[in-house]
Amino acid sequence: MSSKEVRKSDIIIIGSGAVGNAAAYFLSSAGRSVTVLEKDTVGNGSSVRNGGQNKMNTRGEPELSLGMYGVTEIWPRLQKELDVDIEFRKTGGYRNALTDDEMENMQKFWPIAKKYGMHIEYMDGTELRKRVPQFSERIAGAAHCEEDTWSNPLKTTLGLYSKARALGAKYYDHEKAVSIETVKGRAKRVVTECGHIYEADKICITACFGSRALLNSVSLDVPFTHALCEIFVTEPVPRILDEIFIGSKGGYYGTQTIHGSIVMGGGSRIGAFQREGNHVEFTLTPDNVPSGIKGLTDLFPSLENIKIVRSWSGWHDRTPDDMCCIEAIDEIPGLYAACGFSGHGFGISAPVGKVLSELMLEQPLGADISKLKFNRFMPIDAFTGDDRKR
């Protein structure tokens, strides 16, 4: 492509993770011409590095409508429509507590969950171990959520890409978008690091932590940190449980895949404090893999001799309230964004992609996203020290 040539399409999507690819798929299915720009290679970001879980039981209320749209409609639809088996399963999930206080804390979620049609059942440790005998004696109780789901992140991300591409979406690797340009106040052009220019009436940013710089290019900002998190997988072992499982305080999350391997990751207090320029493939946070593996043997004492076959890491785009941002940006018509998934975006990537397509096609929305606008982040009230509400 010569530097003067302009590539035109109906819609440009920046970032080819599960979210961008899902939007590209739904828009291509609706007959729109779609261009996807990717700074790295297709789908090499967080979407192929995560645990595959949709932990409905830990989402903030503003994300629950999206979550339920995914569980009831969009994930089952992708399972049928894509050419690969994305292994979507309504597994249900256990959220495990170590103390009565943690148990009480989890119970506060019940009325909120009920409002969204979710089913949560609380049980003590004895009942939990009746169902899953391998769980540690130290677990005091658990909340079981029927709406927790799992899908294979690799097959979902690449399956969406494959299908969108088959429907005509044009994917460009190593095309880092550096700025968005407006014409008469409307989003119109994307300029890439190589100096290429792409033009469309609608531009959608789904670039994980890269979204911030792109929003900054049109004088908008959304606050998030850029945290590194690790995860590992074991050799396959005989079936222990079908449900996904998480620690009530977020110390671990895991799943036994249909292959029998256990995929498990955890929280990190150090991950958000990486040195500038650290590379995701080579930097391991010291608190994560070894402590995560210790967590695995604490959780399932009988698995002490299980073999760890692989570990890797990925970035989180973590907002101040740990919830995502998704909107058609009022200030700049034609500009759309979905980012700030705070470490749990894969589980809602399919419904977020669908809702983005609905926004761009000007269709009624399948989920309520009104509480996920990024202008919700406000300075605190200095006098009371509380968060201010818009």
Binding site: I306, K307, I308
Partner: protein, 110 residues
């Protein structure tokens, strides 16, 4: 070196079956030559994509046995040299390690 990805907007034609498509290439995950060739036509142009899409190289040996062959097959379908394809990203540990060994090396004082 930065590897260039094969242009995804360029048509590469349709998948056509070959007599040796049943040949098992990744023995750990039992992935055949035909499945790998087919994945290329589904748009999987890098070795990481093939691995993620099919699980080729994700079993116990982590691709040590089949890595070379997978690369050759993909390169042939794309009409390029295997040297133009980047290896799958290596992931630690190099050989499977028992959980207990890992868990014991957190450097904690008990």
């Amino acid at each position: 070196m930065e590897y260039k990805v094969f242009d995804r907007t360029k048509p590469i034609g349709e998948f056509t079956a070959q007599p040796d498509d049943d040949l098992i290439i990744c023995r750990c995950e039992e992935i055949t030559k035909g499945e790998i060739r087919k994945a290329v036509y589904d748009g999987m142009y890098t070795i990481n994509e093939i691995k993620r899409y099919l699980r080729a190289g994700m079993g116990l040996c982590q691709g040590l046995t089949c890595g070379r062959n997978v690369k050759d097959i993909v390169a042939r379908e794309l009409g390029i040299s295997p040297a133009e394809l980047e290896e799958a990203t290596p992931r630690p540990p190099a050989r499977p390690v028992t959980a207990k060994v890992y868990a014991d090396c957190r450097g904690e004082e008990d």
